[in-house]
Symmetry: C2
Subunit: 353 residues, 2 copies
């Protein structure tokens, strides 16, 4: 598979950093007193190469898919829930609907590989080639062609959203079984011990958790060759990724390629980013990490990426809910930079020393 | 001074907790997967004694005052900045203006004791009896009568805001020198070593910080009698508090008395709450802790109160900015409880086990 699918993210210029930082420092507040919001303002201004950045048509794209491995009992919920939740998204009843509506964030639901057919809906895209990934205990999760198609479709979808004027995009997911796929991707890419990558997902009991660990250990054994350090990000994705993760990976790369601001959600979304990052490390400059998930592997995943999350609320819902909940802080970062008075404009004295 | 000024906060009934928790648990999400937002939803629903709570006319009240101790060089900024920032608030140029506007939060600026006179402004209340507190190196910060008047005025102001239909209120402050007052209140009430209560405020150098510690040590020595464990919250407040802190303390108590939701900001606002809490521990049930400040004493202050902050963004701006920045999470907590579908209404399967 051609790695060129992945390598299209331009590094950001830091030439205007000093100018942007000066604009931040002239605002009527003690130096640095807006903490992470100042870091965020600098990052956004750098992405847009201006000290007066603008957030335009915020959008969250939720990718849904089923997982062959779910039949091994790795989730607390039945696979049917994936399709049921897609319909819940259509009707506006899910967490992401509520939080996206609260913040004026547009929502697109993508069928990346759900084991069901859906009626047309104005915010729905049918992008699947398969009705779910394959059982990784027996074979790779996706065929070469299907995985590449998913990455490409993710990129196309983001191109469409960008063409409508969006410059800030979040990525969410729904897929019963996908914490298993994410844990396997994480282990394979970061070489962090498998047990440290596996969490309780939607809420496994201790016994169910033991079973999940056992199954994932078997999967890793089955695919020893592809987990060697020589493996390419694409082959790892094909082996362990779900369709929603593959499509999200393509979507993230395209968004960074287009100089959009990327809002990264929790454990699953971050696993897609891990793959994208393995191919294109410079993608991180475009990423805002919305939160640290309660799913145990996420903290280590963020540490691996050197990422500081905005929120730590013990969330583990997925769907892009962390992106939506953190979004007002992104707006605040841009707002203070654009709208606060400066010491000179407000006639406020600066430090005495 | 009659402690009755303070003791008017009714304990909350927990009788409906099970019903509210059931409403939270029936939403289409894994149990507990909204983390702190679920805790918040339960708290708000408990305050309002309904599983369909409503946030009405959110309001932030910013109390400003000057501090006699500022003449000892305990701040990085000159005292003039207090009045200059009040005018900045009037013109909409401060951080709190930007964030309150972003979230539709009404703003009232209160002159609790600024060393300047201001013209009338639609969102301004002149509530001062003195143009700043006294120099604590020489005498108590406030007289008995002035302190009591400040507490009473704080309560009156909140009664007025409540009468206009507000049920969720944040408290902010502006006052050059007020991290010193807050540190002294904290030390006096919690018995935490003084050095652990003192921080760099608006940004002191190491040498300036040493000077601040030295000055505050002298203040504590000067007022040894009042820092004994026998001291009443009111006498501690009178000795060390600034006028904005005293007024905020009264405002917080009145808000809880009226069953409003209280948004607590950073180090200074929390020091006002410490006083209120010392008199009326049940006030905590009404408090949402918006963030953990970068001012070093705040973390220990929150631990003393057993409080978990929503945000940890390294903020140290004051003005109620933390309240405003955390407010969308409060809205989200209420929104998911009111607007998400339930498993049965959405036809989503529940856990398999």
């Amino acid at each position: 598979m051609p790695e060129i699918l992945f390598c299209t993210v331009p590094p950001l210029s830091h030439l205007r950093d000093a100018e942007i930082q000066a604009a931040i420092d002239q605002k009527t507040k003690p130096l640095g007193s807006l903490g992470s919001l100042e870091t965020l303002a600098l990052q956004i201004a750098r992405i847009q190469q201006t000290s007066t950045p603008v957030l335009s048509k915020p959008h969250i794209c939720v990718f849904a898919a089923d997982h062959g491995l779910a039949q091994e009992g790795v989730s607390a919920y039945p696979s049917d829930v994936t399709a049921q939740m897609v319909i819940n998204f259509f009707h506006g009843g899910a967490g992401i609907n509520v939080f996206a509506a609260q913040h004026g964030i547009a929502l697109t639901i993508v069928d990346a590989g759900v084991n069901a057919e859906f009626r047309a809906h104005p915010h729905f895209i049918n992008a699947k080639t398969q009705r779910g990934s394959r059982n990784m205990l027996r074979e790779s999760a996706m065929s070469h062609e299907d995985c590449a198609a998913a990455v490409r479709r993710g990129r196309e979808i983001v191109r469409g959203i960008h063409a409508e004027g969006c410059n800030v995009i979040g990525f969410g997911e729904m897929g019963i079984g996908n914490t298993s796929a994410a844990a396997l991707l994480m282990h394979s890419i970061t070489q962090i011990p498998l047990e440290d990558c596996i969490g309780k997902g939607t809420g496994l009991s201790d016994a169910q958790m033991q079973h999940k660990v056992h199954i994932l250990q078997q999967v890793v054994k089955r695919h020893t060759i592809t987990t060697s350090e020589q493996s390419s990000p694409m082959s790892i994705l094909q082996t362990f990724g779900g369709f929603e993760i593959a499509m999200m990976c393509g979507a993230m790369l395209e968004a960074a390629h287009l100089h959009m601001i990327l809002l990264i959600d929790g454990f699953i979304a971050s696993s897609a980013l891990l793959v994208a990052h393995a191919a294109c490390p410079q993608i991180l400059e475009y990423c805002i990490f919305s939160h640290e998930s309660d799913e145990q592997g996420h903290k280590k995943m963020l540490a691996y990426l050197g990422a500081t999350p905005l929120l730590r609320l013990g969330l583990r819902l997925g769907e892009g809910t962390g992106c939506a909940l953190a979004y007002p802080l992104v707006v605040s970062a841009v707002a203070f930079l654009n709208s606060m008075a400066t010491f000179s404009s407000a006639g406020v004295s600066t430090k005495t020393v």
